[in-house]
C-alpha cells in the first residue's frame, strides 16, 4: 500500500501556485515509494523541478530529451534486469511528449513489453513553450497556435485517444486518473506499478496559466471535468474497460465557463452550436464508458 506520509517530491520547486502537474508528481511518488527511478521528458515539470544545481526529486531521476523518455526507460529497465536490481522504472511525461513527439518511442517501448510504468500528466497543451496545441488539446480550446478568432473557434480536433492506442499495443493495464481524486490516483499508479509489463496512467492536471483560471481553482476545475463527462476516470485491464467513475452529469458549460481558453464560446456572444458540439462529446463519453448515474424520478 502507498505510504501517504511519504514525501519524495520536495518543496521549493518552481511550479506556478496551483500547478496540477506538480501535485500529480507528488501523489505519484507517494504511490511509487523510494525504490523507483523516474525518467522525465523535456517540459514544464523537468524545468520547474530541476534547475541545476537544485532538484526536487528525492528518487533517482533522469531527463534526456523531449521525445525519448520511453526509450531511455527501456534501456534503464533492461540494465536493471541484467544487474538483478528491482527498482521500478517510471516515465513522467507531459501530453506533448506522449501524444505527439514521443509517439514513435512510446509505441516501440510498449510493443517490446518493457516492465515500465508510463505516467502522462495531461494538461492538454504545450505549456512549457507557451500554451500551444497538442494532440491532447480538447475541441474548441483556444491556444497560442489554435487561437480563437473571427474565423475560428480554437482547436479544430477532439483529443486523441491515447489510452486506447496503448491498450491496442497489448498493455495489461491502462488507466486515467485525476488530481481531484487522489485516492483513486494513488491506487491506479500502484496497480500500474505492480502489473508486469508496460502500463499507462494518464492524469488530468489542470494548468492555471495555460487554461486561464486562478490557482486556487485547480482541484474544483479538475472535478468539474469529471462531473461533466469531458474527462472520464476509467481502468482498462488487458484492453477491456473494467471500471469507470460514475457521476450525475452536469452540463458541459459549467466546466467551460471556468476557463479563459473557452471564453470565446460565451463572449462576445454565446456560441450555442459549439457548446452543443462539446456537449455531444461528453454524451459520447458517457455512453462509451457508462458513467451516468440514473436518478429514479419519484412519482
Amino acid at each position: 500500500m502507498a505510504d501517504k506520509s511519504c514525501e519524495l517530491f520536495d518543496a521549493g520547486h518552481r511550479a506556478c501556485g496551483g500547478c496540477g502537474a506538480a501535485l500529480a508528481a507528488r501523489l505519484m511518488l507517494k504511490a511509487a515509494g523510494p525504490e523507483s527511478i523516474v525518467v522525465s521528458s523535456t517540459g514544464c515539470m523537468e524545468v520547474f523541478s530541476t534547475p541545476y544545481p537544485e532538484t526536487a526529486w528525492k528518487v533517482p531521476w533522469i531527463h534526456s530529451l523531449f521525445e525519448n523518455a520511453s526509450a531511455v526507460a527501456s534501456g534503464i529497465e533492461s540494465s536493471l534486469k541484467k544487474q538483478g536490481r528491482k527498482e521500478k522504472v517510471i516515465v513522467m511525461a507531459g501530453d506533448g511528449a506522449t501524444f505527439d513527439i514521443g509517439m514513435l518511442c512510446i509505441s516501440g517501448a510498449f510493443e517490446r513489453g518493457h516492465d515500465i510504468t508510463y505516467i502522462c500528466y495531461d494538461n492538454e497543451a504545450y505549456m512549457n513553450t507557451g500554451i500551444q496545441r497538442s494532440g491532447a488539446t480538447p475541441y474548441d480550446a483556444s491556444t497560442t497556435t489554435s487561437p480563437a478568432g473571427s474565423q475560428s473557434f480554437g482547436n479544430k480536433r477532439p483529443k486523441k485517444d491515447m489510452p486506447a492506442i496503448l491498450a491496442a499495443h497489448g498493455s495489461p493495464y491502462v488507466a486515467t486518473a485525476s488530481i481531484a481524486y487522489p485516492n483513486d490516483l494513488l491506487q491506479k499508479v500502484e496497480k500500474a506499478l505492480n502489473t508486469v509489463g508496460p502500463t499507462y496512467v494518464q492524469i488530468h492536471v489542470p494548468c492555471c496559466t495555460g487554461w486561464g483560471f486562478e490557482g486556487e481553482q485547480t482541484i474544483a476545475i479538475a472535478k468539474l471535468a469529471i462531473e461533466t463527462g469531458l474527462w472520464v476516470n476509467y481502468e482498462m485491464v488487458d484492453g477491456k474497460v473494467t471500471k469507470a467513475k460514475k457521476v450525475v452529469r452536469k452540463p458541459v458549460e459549467e466546466y467551460l465557463k471556468t476557463q479563459k481558453r473557452f471564453r470565446h464560446l460565451f463572449k462576445p456572444k454565446r456560441q450555442d452550436a459549439e457548446i452543443e458540439a462539446i456537449q455531444a462529446l461528453a454524451d459520447k463519453n458517457a455512453e462509451k464508458y457508462g458513467i451516468d448515474i440514473k436518478i429514479a424520478k419519484k412519482e
Partner: protein, 384 residues
C-alpha cells in the same frame, strides 16, 4: 589467434569480448551484419546481454543512454541516416558524460540516397563531444573497440566513443584478423563500475537544465575532457601494444614520412591505397609520404604539426565535405599548420563509394606539387 573473417564479424566478436550488458541497435546497411551477429550471440548464450530491438536508431541510442546511466556497459552500431537520426541523442549522451561505444560503418548521406562509403556521417557529428577513432583495416577496427571502451570509461574521460570503419570497404571485406582471448580481454578491460549511476540507494538527478550561469562551464568541462582524452588514449594504446603487440599509443601514424616532400594526410581504409601508391612512387624516386589520422576527436593538432614539419606540400584527402567550405580534415590540418608557411591543399575524394585508385593518388600528388588543390578528384565531367 589469426582468423580470416568479415570485418563486421570481427567487430562483433570484439564487442562480445568487451562484455556489454545492453546492446541496442537498428538495422541499416552496411552496419547490419554486426548487429545480426550480436543478436545471434545473445540467442545462443555466447553473449550475456540484453538486446533491445528498438523501432529506430533514435531509440537505439536513447535506450543505450538509459542503460548506461543505470550502470551498464552498452553498445550500439549505425551509419549514415541512422546516425543522423541519432544526432540529438549524440549531443545528449556526451553532455551527460556516458561512456557508450558505437561502431560507425561509414556511409554517405542522402540525398541522393547512397548506401556506399564515405565519412560524411560521422564527420558531421565531430562537434558532439564523442571521441572519434578511424580504422585503416579490420585488425585496427577490431582492436579500437577494446581501446574505445577503456578510454571512454576512464574516470578522467567519461565520454562516449565512435569507432569508425569504412562501410563495405572494410565492413564486408574478409581479412585475417588476430582475435584476443576472453581472458586477455577481461584483463585489459576491467568491469564497468561508474562512480555515479541511477540508483535508489543513492538518488541523484541526471540531465538537469542549466541556466546561463552554469551552461558555459558545462561546455568548458566537456571540451577539456575531450582534449585531455588524448592522454588516456595514448596510455590505453600503449597498454594494448604491451599486451598484444599492436601499439596504438599514437593518435597519428606516419608512413615514409622522414624525408617526404609531399605528404598525404588521410583517414580510414584509403590509407592502404595511399601506402601502395607511395611504395610505387618511392621506387620511382619520388619523396612521398603519408600521415594517417587515427583519432579525429580529440584532434591531435600538435602531433600533426610535428609530423608535417618537414613537408613541402601537404595534400589532404577528405571523404567528406563541409559544403560551402572544405573537407573537415583539411580545415583541421590547416589550423594545425597555421603560421608554418607549409601549403595545405584539400582534395574531396571517394564520396558515395566512388572507387579511389592508385592513379587518383598519383593525380593528387601531382596537383599538390603544382600548387593546385581545394578541388574534387575524379569528377566525371560528362555527366555534369
Amino acid at each position: 589467434m589469426l582468423e580470416i573473417t568479415e570485418g563486421s564479424m570481427a567487430v562483433a566478436e570484439a564487442v562480445r569480448l568487451c562484455r556489454p550488458q545492453v546492446v541496442s541497435a537498428y538495422p541499416i546497411t552496411p552496419q547490419t551484419h554486426i548487429v545480426e551477429a550480436l543478436a545471434e550471440m545473445v540467442a545462443n548464450g555466447k553473449l550475456d546481454a540484453d538486446y533491445i530491438t528498438v523501432e529506430s536508431e533514435f531509440s537505439a541510442l536513447s535506450a543505450c543512454l538509459g542503460a548506461s546511466a543505470a550502470g551498464s556497459r552498452t553498445y550500439s552500431a549505425t551509419t549514415s541516416q541512422g546516425l543522423a537520426l541519432m544526432y540529438e541523442v549524440c549531443f545528449n549522451v556526451a553532455g551527460m558524460r556516458l561512456p557508450i561505444v558505437m561502431t560507425i560503418a561509414n556511409r554517405a548521406m542522402g540525398a541522393p540516397l547512397s548506401i556506399w562509403n564515405d565519412q560524411q556521417d560521422s564527420i558531421s557529428l565531430r562537434d558532439s563531444g564523442w571521441l572519434q577513432f578511424y580504422a585503416e583495416d579490420n585488425q585496427e577496427a577490431t582492436d579500437l573497440h577494446y581501446i574505445a571502451y577503456k578510454v571512454a570509461e576512464n574516470p578522467a574521460v567519461q565520454l562516449p566513443a565512435m569507432v569508425c570503419f569504412d562501410g563495405f570497404i572494410l565492413s564486408h571485406t574478409y581479412e585475417p584478423v588476430d582475435m584476443i582471448s576472453q581472458e586477455d580481454a577481461d584483463k585489459y578491460l576491467p568491469k564497468f563500475s561508474p562512480k555515479e549511476r541511477l540508483d535508489a540507494a543513492d538518488p541523484i538527478s541526471f540531465g538537469m537544465y542549466a541556466t546561463p550561469e552554469y551552461y558555459l562551464e558545462f561546455r568548458y568541462e566537456i571540451d577539456k575532457a575531450v582534449k585531455e582524452a588524448a592522454v588516456a588514449i595514448r596510455a590505453a594504446g600503449a597498454e594494448f601494444g604491451k599486451m598484444f603487440g599492436r601499439d596504438y599509443s599514437a593518435l597519428v601514424e606516419g608512413y615514409q614520412l622522414e624525408d617526404a616532400e609531399t605528404v598525404i594526410v588521410a583517414m580510414g581504409s584509403i590509407c592502404g591505397t595511399v601506402k601502395d601508391t607511395i611504395d610505387e612512387m618511392r621506387k620511382e624516386g619520388k619523396k612521398v609520404g603519408l600521415l594517417k589520422i587515427r583519432v579525429f576527436r580529440p584532434f591531435p593538432s600538435e602531433d600533426v604539426a610535428k609530423a608535417l614539419k618537414g613537408a613541402k606540400h601537404v595534400a589532404v584527402l577528405d571523404k567528406n565535405i563541409s559544403l560551402g567550405a572544405k573537407g573537415a580534415t583539411a580545415l583541421e590540418v590547416k589550423d594545425a599548420l597555421y603560421g608554418s608557411g607549409i601549403p595545405v591543399y584539400d582534395y574531396i575524394i571517394g564520396l558515395g563509394g566512388r572507387d579511389v585508385r592508385k592513379k587518383d593518388i598519383r593525380e593528387v600528388v601531382a596537383l599538390a606539387e603544382k600548387g593546385k588543390g581545394d578541388q574534387f578528384i575524379g569528377l566525371r565531367k560528362e555527366v555534369l
